[in-house]
Amino acid sequence: MNSPSPITLTASSGFKGSRDQGMEKNLMSRRVVVTGIGMVTPLGIGKERFAQALFRGESGIKEIAAFDTSSFPSHLGGEIREFSARDFISAKYLRRMDRLSQIAVASSRLALEDAKIVVNTANRDHIGIILGTAFGPTDLKVHCARILFTEGPMMINPILVPNSVMNAPAGHASIELGFRGVNTTVNHQAASGETAIVYAAMEIQRGAADIILAGGADILSEFFFETLVRFKAISPVNGGKEGARPFDTHRNGPVAGEGCGIVCLEVLEHARERGVIPYCEIAGWGMSSSPASPTDWPADAKGISLAMVRALNSAHCAPDVIEMIQAASNGGKNPDRIESDACLHLFGSETAVPLVSSLKGATGESFSSGGVRAASLALSLREGMVPPTLGLVDPIVQLPFVTGEARKIDIRNGLLNAFSYGGTNVSIVMRKIEQG
C-alpha cells in the first residue's frame, strides 16, 4: 500500500500583490496536527480514562440517572457521570456557568493540559476556540420560557441571559482560560463538532491562529429527552428492545447521549518547536449538503459520498489508503443505511476495505459528537487500535465492521464521518505523521 505524501501545496506568487508574502506562503503550507485531547464524556472524564474504556469496549450507556424517565418509553442514555466542575473551573466563574459551559470549559482545560500548553501574555492572542453545539442550553431555554409565560418577561434573571446564547461555552472558555484569538461557534445539527474542527484547521492553515481548541458540546436535559421521545428520534422507535445498535439489522433508533470532546489543533512546526509529539495530522476534509427537510434524513447517499470523496481529494489520497472509518452511524434506521451505502459505493470495489467502527454504540448520540469522535480516531491512530462497535451483532451490509473487542492494526489514515438530518455532511481525513 502506497503511503501518500503529506500535503505540500506550493504557494503561488499570488495576485494579491501587496499581501504579506509570508502569510500567502503559510496559507498553503501550514500543516495542522492534533496535540491535545480533552474529554468529558459518558466513557469518562479525561483522555486516559476515555481511552481505556474505548479500547476495552466499555459502554457509557446506562439507565438515566439525572431525571425520572418512568413516563417515557425510553430509559437509557449516555450520561456524563462523576463530573465535578469544581475540579476544572474557579469558583468565581463556576456560578456564572450553566452545565453546557461547564463541560466545555473543563474539556478545553484538559485539552490544553494534554497538549502541554500554558496560556500566557505572549501566546494568548494566537490561541482560540471553535466550538460546535447542535442544541445549546436546552434546559435554560425551557426555563426562560417558563418565566416568560408564568411570571412575566421582566422576571427573567439577567444572570441567565449570557448563558442562553449558543456562543456562551466558547466565551466562558476564553474568559476562564485566558486565550483571546479566533473564537466562534458553529451550530449545524449533528455536524456541528466536525464543522468546527474543519474551520479550526482552515484558520490555522491561513495563519489566523497557531492553536485552536475545536470540538463540540451538547447536554442531555429532561426537556430535550422528552423532545427526542416525542419526535420518535430515539430507541425504541416503534417498540422492540431499547439500545444503541449502529449498523445492526435490529437497530431501532439511537440512544440519547451527551458530552464534550475537544481536540487541540496546532500548526506542526509549532508543535515540533515545543517538543510535543502530535497524535496525528488533519490531512484533508470535505463538506457537502443533501436535500432533506431540517428534521429528516436525505433519501440517498449521494451527498454523503460527495463529502467523503472531497475529503480524500483534499488529503490527496486514494480510497485504498484509508484503513479505518470512525462512522457517524448511531443505530438510526436511515442514517446507518445511507452511510453503509456510501461506504460500499466508495470502498466496495477496493481490494482493501477499511475497518468500520461507530463510537455511538458506546456513548449514544450526543449530536455535536465531532470532538469526542475525532479524539477517538486520534487515539486509534496513535495506539493502532480500532474500538469495537458496541451493540452491533447482525450487520446490515457486508463491511469489515469491528465488533466485540478492539482490533489491533497499524493505521496510517483514518476517516471521520459526520452526517446529519437536514442533509449536512462532513468528512475528515486524519493521518499519522512521520516523526522527526
Partner: protein, 415 residues
Amino acid sequence: MHKERVVITGLGTVNALAKNIVDFTHALKSGLCGIGPVTLFDTTDFRTHSGAEVNNFKPQDLIPSQFSLKRMSRADLMVFAAAIEALSDARLFPFPDALCEDTGVVLGAGSGGKLEGESFYRDYIETEGRNARFSMLASVCPAASADHITTHLGLMGPKTTFMTACSSGATAIGFARDLIERRAATVVIAGGVEPLCRTTYASFNVLQAVDPEYCKPFDRNRRGLSLGEAAAVVVLESLNHAKERGVPIHGEVLGYGISCDAYHMTTPDSEASGAARCIQAAMADAGISAAAVDYINAHGTATPANDAMETRAVKKVFGPHAYRIPISSTKSMTGHTLGASGALEAIVSVLSITHDFIPPTIHLHDPDPECDLDYVSTSARESAPHIVLSNSFAFGGNNTALILGRFTEKGIQNE
C-alpha cells in the same frame, strides 16, 4: 495553487426599512428610521415597546410559488426571500443545475424559529406538556434556514450556520470567503437572519440594554440599542467564475479577522483590545494599511459601553487617521438585527461603494465627548469609498471585522 479572489455578485435583504435592495438603498440615502412599535407580539409586560420590525411581511409576494413554504419559520422565510433576491441579482435564478454541486450556504443566525417555538413553549408550560405539539419545534433550530435553502435549490456544496450572537453574519461571510478562496466551493450563498421574538426582546430588556425610544449611536444621551429583525444575503463567487459568467461585480471580500475579548460575557473590554485586534487581523488578511480604509460601518449599538469602546478601538488601530475616516452606525435606521447584523451591514458597506455615499447615523444630535470621531450624523454624505471596514462585536466577546472593497481588475488594495 493560488488563492481565488472572492467577489460579491448578488445582494438581497428583508429588513425594517425595505424588502428589497433598491428600496433599502433609497432608505439608507434618505436616512429613514425603521424603528417603531413592536406588533409581532404583545409588549405590554415589557419595559420597552419599540423595535425595528418588518411590517407586512408577505413571503408569498417575495418567493416564487414553485417553492413550498410549509414548515418554514419567519426567519426561514425572510432569509429564503433574501436569498432569492440575491440570486436573481447575481443572475443565478432559476439556479443552474450545473452549479448545484459546487454551491454552498453559510448563514449566521440567532433566534432561528424561536418566535414559533415560543407558541409551543407556552402550550407546553400552560398544559404541563399534555397539549403541546412537539412537531411545532421542527423549524425551531437556527440551522433549519440553511437546510431549507439547499433543499429548495438542490445545492450540494458546504453548508453551515454560525451562532455568535451579533457577529454571526460577518463570520458567515468570512467563512464563505475561505471556502471559495481554497476552492471548496465556487459559489456560496452567505448571510444572516434574525427574527424578533419575545425571548430575545425580554433578554435585552432585563439587561437594561434597550433604549425605550429609539437608539442614538454615539450620542451623549444614548441609552441602549433598538432590537430589530432582518435577513441579509450576499452571493459570493470566485472572480474567475464571475468573469466567465460576465455578470456585474458589486465588490470584493478583501479580508476578515476574528478575535475574542476573553473579558466578560456581556460587557465589552473597555481597553478595546479585542475589537482592535480583530480589525488589525482583517487588515493584515486584506493586505491593506490603515490609511486605505475610507469608511467604517460601525458596530455602533448605542449602548453606553459599546460606542465608547468602539471609538477607542478605532483610535487604537488608525491613530490620527481615525479622525479622517467617516464612520456611521446604520443600526440607527435598521435597529440591531443581532445574527443578521454583520451580513446586513456588509450589504450596507457594498452599497456605499456601488452608490457612492456614506449612510448616516440618524438620531445623533448631541455627540458624546468620548465619541469624537466623524460619525456622519443626520444625513447621508456623497463620497466614493474604495475600502470599507464593517465591525461586529458580540456577547461572549466574539469580534469579527470584515473588509470589503470596490472591485478593480488589479485589486483595489494594490492601487
